[in-house]
């Protein structure tokens, strides 16, 4: 299975994860400050800054894109409960 590396800047941890993993699954396990709310892509609590490697994440779904827009999310921000890791190296931080 393809792997990717996700770095959580705020806790200084890089995690090797299988493709398809959602950011929130790893974030919780390493105790990063990316926090969760509804886990269904609606509340925007898990808004995450993609510091690098955004191209290695799945594209936002229509729902996620709408929630990001409604919440005036800056560019290079994603919902950790929705964004899935594909490959490569990704660096993230709490929004």
């Amino acid at each position: 299975m393809p792997k990717a590396k996700v770095t959580f800047e705020d806790v200084g941890v890089t995690v090797t994860v299988p493709a398809g993993t959602r950011l929130i699954e790893v974030s919780e396990k390493v105790g990063a400050g990316i926090t969760y709310g509804c886990r269904e892509g609606e509340c925007c609590t898990c808004l995450t800054k993609i510091v690098a490697g955004g191209e290695h994440l799945t594209l936002p779904s229509i729902l996620e894109a709408q929630v990001l827009k409604d919440n005036l999310a800056p560019r290079q921000h994603r919902l950790a409960c929705q964004a899935q890791v594909l490959c490569g190296e990704i660096v993230v931080a709490p929004a």
Binding site: G12, T14, V15, T21, K29, T35, V67, N71, L72
Partner: protein, 421 residues
Amino acid sequence: MAVLTPDTPVPHAAARVIARDVHWIGALDPELRRFDLLLDSAHGTTYNAYCVRGSAGVSIVDTVKETFADEFFRRLESVADYDEIRAIVLNHLEPDHSGALPELRRRAPKARLYVSSRAQMMLKGVLHGTAGEFTAVQTGDHLDLGDRRLRFLQTPYLHWPDTQCTYLEGDALLFSGDIFGSHYCDARLFNDAVGSFRAAFEQYYACIMRPFAREVRQALALIEPLPLRLIAPAHGPILRDAPAYYLSRYRELSTPSPATGEHTLLVFYLSAYGNTRRMAEELARAAASDEVRVELIDLDGAAIAPLLERIERADAIACGSPTINGDAVKAVWDLLSSLTCIDVRGKIGAAFGSYGWSGEAVRMIEERLRGLKLRTPLPGVRARLTPGSDELAACRSLGHDLALHLCGRAEHRTIDMASLA
């Protein structure tokens, strides 16, 4: 008790002028004693709604709790006809402000609803199909009423994601929603006419706004540059006398203590037989240095309220609890449940504790710390019954590593997800 007395009858039908062609059309709720399950309201409250008349029509700003709708409509009808209403602005969707909206929309079908951009996700849940057509606005958007204009300012999380303020240009009047509110009911309405509501104003900030101190500062950055003659909040007295005082008070309350260059770790513990206390002491000793100030606090019998300010100022907290009956001890939950009243996002948290046979408390505390939006970069330490040398070493290691994180010198780790629990 409420300030209303037999000598000050509630004027059920009268709207009140608060500025030229601007009327208060809200409702008085002197009997309310608890608000949102969170906040005692010994003086009741008001649900403030306003009617703004321009040359091109009328805008209503906020409505009232549904059970007070009749009072609201009587006041509204005394100053405007429904077919004059071309806009309804909701600064906040909570039911105490949106309760009369469905009926208002029915009575004023020409009116368009204006809500904040972030309100969209909540609109359906609050109004269940009765919202109708609406316009989502952002900071800087305007609503033109002919000879006057309303300007929108987004103030999210004060205290819901949707909250916004609406500024009446020219008149320098801010409809501030819940910001600058008080749960204080006095039919005299204005801050220079009502009794002393200082305690209610302070309590309102402490219970409603304090967890969002950083958002308060962001909102003040938008509001402070505005000329202000009057602040019309959604609850409590209308602030026409010295409105700048209330801005400065919010600024004061929301400003963090100046950085000292020293990091603070608070180590809380409960201990029935001294085992968890021993762990706390080891952790604390290992963390303490010239750069990290450590305070060790026994939660047994401790009053929670005075601890909140210390936690608010601290950079990290470690919580120790034995596992008793498969759970952490109640005093720990009392402390952690109180942390929703302050801003702890991004602080570092950790857990530890002794146990007899199952040891769930540490994991439970860690989960709660994450739920409170703390970072928990270091796994907790558990000790079966009396901590041995290895377990005490693990406590020292936890203290040492917490200190490194606080000082920004923690070593970067690379791990495989499979190794994470």
